[in-house]
Symmetry: C2
Subunit: 331 residues, 2 copies
Amino acid sequence: MDARILLDHGEGGAASARLVREVFLAHLGAPAVLEDAAVVEGGARLALTTDSFVVRPRFFPGGDVGKLAVCGTVNDLAVMGAVPRYLTCGFILEEGLPVADLERVVASMAAAAREAGVSIVAGDTKVVGHGEVDGLFVNTSGVGFVPAGRALSAGACRPGDAILVSGPVGDHGTAVMLAREGFGLETDLVSDCQPLADLAAALLAAAPGTRCMRDPTRGGLATTMLELCEASRVGMAIREPAIPVRRQVRAACDLLGLDPLFVACEGRLIAVVPPAEAGAALAALQAHPRGSGAAHIGAVGAGPARLVLETALGGRRPLVALEGAQLPRIC
Amino acid sequence: MDARILLDHGEGGAASARLVREVFLAHLGAPAVLEDAAVVEGGARLALTTDSFVVRPRFFPGGDVGKLAVCGTVNDLAVMGAVPRYLTCGFILEEGLPVADLERVVASMAAAAREAGVSIVAGDTKVVGHGEVDGLFVNTSGVGFVPAGRALSAGACRPGDAILVSGPVGDHGTAVMLAREGFGLETDLVSDCQPLADLAAALLAAAPGTRCMRDPTRGGLATTMLELCEASRVGMAIREPAIPVRRQVRAACDLLGLDPLFVACEGRLIAVVPPAEAGAALAALQAHPRGSGAAHIGAVGAGPARLVLETALGGRRPLVALEGAQLPRIC
């Protein structure tokens, strides 16, 4: 195999065939690469989602763009209550990219797909000239099966509901930022990037009345909760001392003037559950290895749609949507 | 709405919400943008496919990257005998891109989706810094329903089968190349970019024994046929005088030293049909507005897997896979 990606690897000829055979098939098994689409067993109700991943750097503590691309799309299906089944992946590569980097990313996708219980069934590779894309971008799209009767929705939150989070927030965004910018900080912090389908299933088994789940990626916990407030036309209050934030995340965010509540997670879920199921839901999360740091962080109140942070000192601080990012290109 | 794309438009905050509302929802209707995945009606057998589109320039005679992204993915489903149903779209945008360009692309996707009978049900937008991507790349992934008993495959071609093509080849690649490079050539040539689901359905109704269909995109007619030869372990012979090539395509290719048989189409299909159905298949293609230029161009023979061009003068020229592209970034 060639050492670096060439334009020819994306053009459908002999070089493309070599790349598919020696990199993609070698790691991902044998999807129907000679066909224009994969034909798979279906289901009565489907969840569909798509995400592109442009994280910089492409390898970071706790993961890489490939693991992230699988987990991100799997998690978008899982939080809808779907059983993730199939992924497609679309690479856009820069001419000159080391093939070893691509291979490492593809191997990581394969491992994450195995962990998440999904099959990568179709793919596509485009190569553009040097300087026309920053290295390697990947899109994953996902198909999940939605069990009959399941209807989770961002618009389903009701006053009195409990708000849970499955673990410490802000790990992913902080780990990527530190990997990118350095700042000379020594830290053992790693991204929380992980697939959440099994955790979501455990939660739904324990708390079948769950109103909605979300994975707080771009914009972090606060942005995601603001979206739920808007969609359900309710207020929400979260208690600052109850929200799990790792010491290293707090320290890095303090130093850089960031709010960890707006920093991305890639392996956490927020769940809004009816009050009668809050205890069972929290216990189910905490009993699962992916949710051992889960906490009950707040409650849904009446409208208007707004999010309030109750501080340790008894203050009430409104959290409002940021115009954009604290940290670009973290996913 | 802002005039240019900012990093903030991709970060999930207020600017992202504005972009979604004022550009995506305005043109694409109202998919479940507040959820992490769309939930849709399913089917017993699914066809899944994905493609990223990096064509340069993004607007060209007969289409643009948005129309291409919808047609390309719809066609990959259609040639598998599936009924295309749902698309997802994932944009990667460069900071500074004129929002008017994005809006024009999105409007074009909406029009192409209507024409193709598919719904765009989920989307994602990432923005990267100036110089980190060349303007606008888009991934579309597609889901189609495969009727019971339908089993088209690149590996199903048999000696004696007829080879049909639904219209002139090489229009798309040539039109894009001329739009990009100019060469001072005056031409009215436009891309053949169009959705083929209805044409494929008409063909299958007339020739239910059809072995396989393909849309000859990257690498053109010859590369696609070489893939069929490999997959079916058969030889194929095509008759040069029978292959429809527009005068303008032939002239431009002659000038530039390209072989039109290796230049991409984006609105043609190749069909391999059993000999008894060849007449009905050709008549069905020619009777359809998208296939009026269809032709019977050759036949499948015994192995080994190779493709031979029979020239007008009676010569037999083997066609072999190119290492890569004649024309990069044509889709």
